[in-house]
């Protein structure tokens, strides 16, 4: 699993790739929460387009990101859902809870 981050104006984009599972979801969780709580970034976008697999602990990390940004009145957006990540969010009945866009461009102009 690899995480890299980019900034565009007031938005931070997390590009995740590979498998997000119990071995590495704590790292994902921590970097996302730090960005929201410490850097106070107004908008965090998580790009999942290169994610091959996401387990329930990955979903939990996304839920924590969402909750943290709600607490602070910032935005938390998921983009680039693959079949596999979409499936896991649907199974969790969480897909409607998140702000989801097909891609970064749509997220930035919304």
């Amino acid at each position: 699993m690899q995480i890299s981050t980019r900034r565009k104006d007031k938005t931070t984009i997390f590009d995740l790739s590979g498998d997000i599972d119990f071995a590495n979801s704590p790292v994902v969780r921590d970097s996302v929460l730090r960005e929201i709580r410490e850097s106070r970034t107004p908008c965090v976008v998580v790009n999942l387009s290169q994610v091959r697999y996401m387990d329930s602990s990955g979903v939990a990390s996304m839920v924590e990101g969402l909750k943290a940004s709600r607490d602070l009145g910032s935005r938390f957006i998921l983009v680039g859902l693959t079949t596999s990540t979409r499936e896991v969010l649907q199974l969790s009945r969480l897909i409607k809870v998140f702000e989801v866009y097909d891609n970064e461009e749509q997220a930035m102009t919304s």
């Binding site: 498998d19 119990f22 387990d55 969402l66 909750k67 079949t83 896991v88 199974l91």
Partner: protein
């Protein structure tokens, strides 16, 4: 049979194994994904709850054919047995969170139950055994 230690870095290896095994047995692609997810979540639970995140504890997995009569027809299937040597599981604790709450955690068992036809926890001597069985739809069997 696959034997490994309880280090979460091996989860990806097991997923690779189960993905190919279910593909080889002729499960439809979405079921290959969901069975793989079930095994991954079950192993994660063993690592976390049976072994308290210790990395060096033994886990054994057995893969066998299963068979049942269903609607008057014989269905072929895959049985997966996951064995660990952690403390006995309190059956009352074996439940996830209600799916309509938005909070992290408590999803693994839902994913497991969604994916397979049988989920069975038993204790045999010092061993926790989790038995997962998934049957193939008639006709799609290539076992």
């Amino acid at each position: 049979m696959l034997a490994l230690y309880s280090n979460p870095k091996w989860l990806s290896v097991v997923r690779g194994t189960v993905e190919r095994l279910t593909e080889t047995l002729g499960f439809p692609i979405a079921q290959c994904r969901s069975i793989t997810r079930a095994v991954d979540e079950a192993l994660t639970n063993i690592v976390r709850h049976s072994y308290g995140n210790r990395l060096d504890q033994p886990i054994a997995m057995y893969f066998r054919r299963a068979q049942r009569r269903h609607d008057g027809q014989v269905q072929q299937g895959l049985e997966i047995l996951l064995c660990d040597r952690g403390p006995a599981i309190d059956p009352c604790k074996l439940q996830g969170r209600p799916l309509d709450e938005i909070r992290p955690g408590g999803l693994g068992l839902h994913f497991i139950r969604q994916a397979v036809d049988t989920v069975e926890f038993t204790r045999k001597g010092p061993t926790n055994r989790l038995r997962l069985v998934k049957y193939l739809a008639q006709g799609s069997s290539v076992l």
